[in-house]
Amino acid sequence: MSKQISEEEYKKRMFVRLKQWISGEKDPYLGNVEIVPQREYVPDQKRAERYRRDRDRVFARAYDTQHNRFYRFFMRFYKVAALLCCLALVTILLVEVSYLPPIGSDSNPSSNEVSAKYIEDGLQDTGAVNIVTGMILDYRAFDTFGESNVLFIATCTVLILLRNDKKKGKGSAEEEEKRDSYYEPKNDSILQVVSAVLVPIIIIFGIYVILNGHLSPGGGFSGGAIIGAGLILYLNAFGFEKTERFFTEKTYKWISFCALTFYCLAKSYSFYTGAHHLESGIPLGTPGAIISSGLILPLNICVGMVVACTMYAFFALFRKGGF
């Protein structure tokens, strides 16, 4: 191979200089770039050894692998069984998929009369301009009730796992230093000023989204998430002392309990009286007005409260291990 140009000339070309600039070797003005090269990751030999030793010890002591013949057999069998289970599951799912109807076929469940009915009669049956809200909070309200309950149960589970007991651990400096939030900037004045302006706006916007759930895109879940984000911002700016004045574990419990119970009772009543097409005594109002569409507005408020409380509770639990 012959060289068509000399090396010095080659280095002066635009393309080479661009490549050098992108890969961070050279800066067009400063020469070599000032960035300190990243240190290489060196795995900690000691820690890995300790981990291995601990693991061996646990297996020897807790499961007694030397004498427990059944467990030794189980350990050998376990990997094979896991592989077999996975393969069986994959096969079953693939076979099931092959039975699905082809995309776009006329007889598919996705193009039967249900969706057409929702679109045609949705406004008349539910009184909600937003068909999606009419579907999830009227036709399929029990499904949404289950979703709200799932959120509540998830918070309970996190509470069981992460809750900090007040008796032990709290107060000692070493325990405090282990927590992630220890090094977080506290009482940052810039954040405080900005959040003092933003938090009321965010919460009002969330309330707007919830109350307009049956008129415009939005509803309980999205509005509740917005309110929860506003509460989290407030907590980050001003700390737990300020939020505990209006939101404690007790508040969370009562709000969730009342919202879920009201939801359950209201929807049970409407199903007891025969869902739709029968007289339930709940006026639907004029479509388009704020107070209209029967039960959808109160149910939206319930869902919004549950979601907002759940978001805040998750954050508080992960941050501090309590409210």
């Binding site: 992108i22 960035i35 977080e184 940052d188 810039i190 933003l198 706006i201």
Partner: protein, 125 residues
């Protein structure tokens, strides 16, 4: 009227392209730099300038209606919030990194303030 429409279209598209260019610079910077503060500087460019120019382009394209007002409110919200988040990240880095003067110059007064803050926080806990 026709000319007005064409100017609106060209202006809006130019703004959007500018925004996209700034986003490209941001992504290049985020992947090119190695140190937190450098990377965060690059990321903050896109969060403020890139988003701002793109949304102004969209405002011009959408014309004079309610959507424009909403987009303007989005710009105000982002310009309030994203510099604050960048500030918080940089402050966390400055407080927690004991070897920060290996990467950038730290003036003596600022170092004093950081040390005091560290101590005050430890006493407060």
């Amino acid at each position: 009227m026709e000319i007005l429409k064409w100017t609106q279209f060209t202006l809006g598209t130019l703004m959007l392209l500018c925004g996209i260019l700034i986003f490209i610079v941001q992504i290049l910077g985020v992947y090119k730099f190695k140190y937190v503060l450098n990377r965060m500087h690059a990321a903050a460019i896109g969060d403020t300038l890139g988003i701002g120019i793109s949304l102004v382009g969209l405002m011009i394209l959408s014309g004079w209606n309610f959507t424009t007002l909403k987009l303007g409110l989005v710009v105000v919200f982002l310009w309030c919030s994203s510099p604050v988040s960048s500030h918080l990240i940089s402050r966390l880095e400055a407080v927690t990194d004991p070897n920060i003067d290996r990467y950038c110059e730290v003036q003596e007064e600022i170092r004093q303030i950081l040390d005091d803050e560290n101590k005050a926080q430890k006493e407060e806990e």
